[in-house]
């Protein structure tokens, strides 16, 4: 009796357990499969997370109605003038620390590759980011994406504001504090460092020493307001002025106090985009002091955005200069642009731009062809641009 019981019990157990076992097997298999797929994903993503590569590319053609040289464009221009290719690498040292570099090759510099960014970034807390290395000088709203045409509405940033500052990078450190409010945030950045650049195109040597600045931005992700102030000891050796005076170079500023102030405003509700910046440059000595501003209004129709820009630039210290210094440093002009940004594919935008600049006949400034302007009595120019910007 007992023997039959013991024989039957495991059998009964087996019978009753079999379906349950089969079910839990299937479930476990399912779970295991999910775990394997998740582990595989984590393995591949761990490798992908350590190094991320991104790039951007632009090319285009621009021509002008005369040799005024607005934005460096004359009535015969080469396609490669607007071409550039950039590669950006992000290397994660830990969850909070990254090394970032950006290499840019420009067509107008025979595709020589330059290291534009090389810095370490550390997220100290959820709201505090620290960076050190070579970075963009954060003077403008579009400083960080200065060469990334894809992130900009225009074919080129408005020259009235972006033109007078020829130095774009510095070596130093910054700290950015983000304060999140409900539905908006305030971002404050303190930066400090130095710059020593020689321009391949103008042959100018520019040095900023002990640069210190602050910029702060409030945004509710539709509206944006930004203010920036910075100061540096500025040294400029001009080759162009040197030639005029029969020397190798002419020292325009030698450790003079230079200040930069900017106010920015943005609105983007997905349909309308409005951007405006007002800037002031103030440098002791003969170097130009300028006030400038622009306003851009764009309207998106699906993947096409027509835009209009007006810009204005004026040097404020003309009475402090005379002779050749005035002819190279005094500057004044108005700019009007009409253009279209057309997002052809995801990651590719084509832009068409017509810009009319005028009122610079007496005061062209050193980043235009002063020689041609005086010789040919030019007071206005038309610039036509077609550009392709992509990011990948």
């Amino acid at each position: 009796m007992t023997r039959t019981y013991f024989k039957l019990a495991p059998l009964a157990l087996c019978i009753s357990a079999a379906p349950a076992l089969a079910q839990s097997d299937a479930e476990r298999l399912d779970q295991l499969e999910q775990q394997v797929s998740s582990l595989q994903q984590q393995l591949t993503s761990a490798a992908a997370d350590r190094v991320r590569l991104n790039g951007f590319f632009s090319t285009g053609y621009a021509t002008a109605s005369n040799d005024a040289g607005f934005a460096g464009i004359n009535d015969e221009s080469e396609v490669q003038d607007l071409s550039l290719m950039a590669l950006q690498g992000t290397f994660s040292l830990s969850d909070d620390t990254q090394a970032i570099m950006q290499l840019v090759s420009r067509g107008e510099e025979d595709w020589d590759t330059e290291l534009e960014w090389a810095y370490l970034s550390h997220q100290a807390t959820n709201s505090l980011q620290l960076r050190a290395g070579k970075m963009r000088l954060p003077f403008f709203m579009y400083s960080d994406s200065l060469e990334l045409g894809y992130a900009q509405p225009w074919a080129r940033p408005p020259q009235a504001v972006y033109g007078p500052v020829t130095v774009t990078s510095y070596v130093g450190a910054d700290a950015t504090y983000t304060f999140n409010l409900s539905g908006s945030s305030i971002n404050t950045q303190l930066f400090s460092g130095f710059t020593d650049e020689s321009s391949a195109t103008s042959g100018n040597e520019v040095e900023f020493r002990n640069t210190v600045g602050i910029n702060t931005e409030w945004t509710d992700y539709v509206w944006k307001v930004r203010a920036v102030a910075a100061t540096a000891e500025v040294s400029v050796d001009s080759r162009l002025l040197g030639q005029l005076f029969g020397q190798n170079s002419f020292t325009l500023a030698d450790g003079e106090r230079g200040n930069f102030y900017g106010l920015g405003f943005g609105y983007d509700n997905g349909t309308w985009q409005v951007v405006s910046e007002v800037t002031r440059i103030d440098v002791d000595g003969p170097f130009y002091d300028t006030d400038s501003a622009y306003l851009t209004v764009g309207r998106r129709f699906d993947n096409v955005m027509p835009y209009a820009t007006i810009g204005w630039l004026e040097s404020k210290d003309d009475d402090e200069r005379a002779g050749p210094l005035s002819s190279v440093l005094d500057r004044s002009r108005d700019e009007y642009s009409l253009g279209v940004r057309w997002d052809v594919l995801s990651g590719v935008a084509v832009k068409f731009d017509y810009t009319h600049a005028r009122g610079f006949g007496d005061e062209p400034g050193s980043n235009m062809n002063a020689g041609s302007i005086f010789a040919e009595n030019i007071d206005s120019t038309n610039v036509y641009t077609v550009k392709i910007d992509s990011a990948f």
Binding site: T90, D144, S145, G347
Partner: protein, 137 residues
């Protein structure tokens, strides 16, 4: 009668589509709840932390996935193209990288289940106790 049954099927389909509900899920060891604003801030690179201070690891479904579209409609209010443009700007200005993309909701669920600090979203029908529902947007 035939027309009526077609209408009925269409109605039922319509109802079943409307019932597809997306929920925000977190790792079981993470916080019990999160607000819509906090989820939006994490998915738009405005915040890198969960409400309990833990570092947030957000996951995203692949582009074109219907659950992804429902989620972004409810949380960030941005279309696929707008998100793409937004992230390319963030990446190239050195501000951050987009959330890691995951192919399927099942894989999203198991990644969230196995990664501390993770946050994801799946169809409510897919929820089981390997993950924790922290918000129903």
């Amino acid at each position: 009668m035939k027309r009526f049954s077609v209408l009925l099927v269409a109605l039922m389909l319509g109802v079943s589509v409307a019932q597809a509900e997306v929920v925000v899920v977190g790792n079981p060891a993470g916080p019990d709840s999160i607000t819509l604003d906090q989820v939006r801030d994490i998915y738009l690179n405005r915040s890198k932390a969960l409400p309990n201070g833990q570092r947030a690891v957000p996951y995203e479904l692949a582009e074109g996935n219907a659950t992804r579209e429902t989620f972004h409609e409810a949380v960030t209010g941005r279309s696929g193209a707008q998100l793409k443009a937004f992230w390319s700007q963030q990446v190239f200005t050195g501000k951050g990288q987009p959330p890691q993309e995951i192919g399927t909701e099942a894989a999203m669920k198991s990644s969230v289940a196995s990664t501390p600090g993770s946050i994801g979203y799946i169809d409510s029908a897919q929820v089981d106790d390997s993950v924790k529902v922290i918000l129903k947007p």
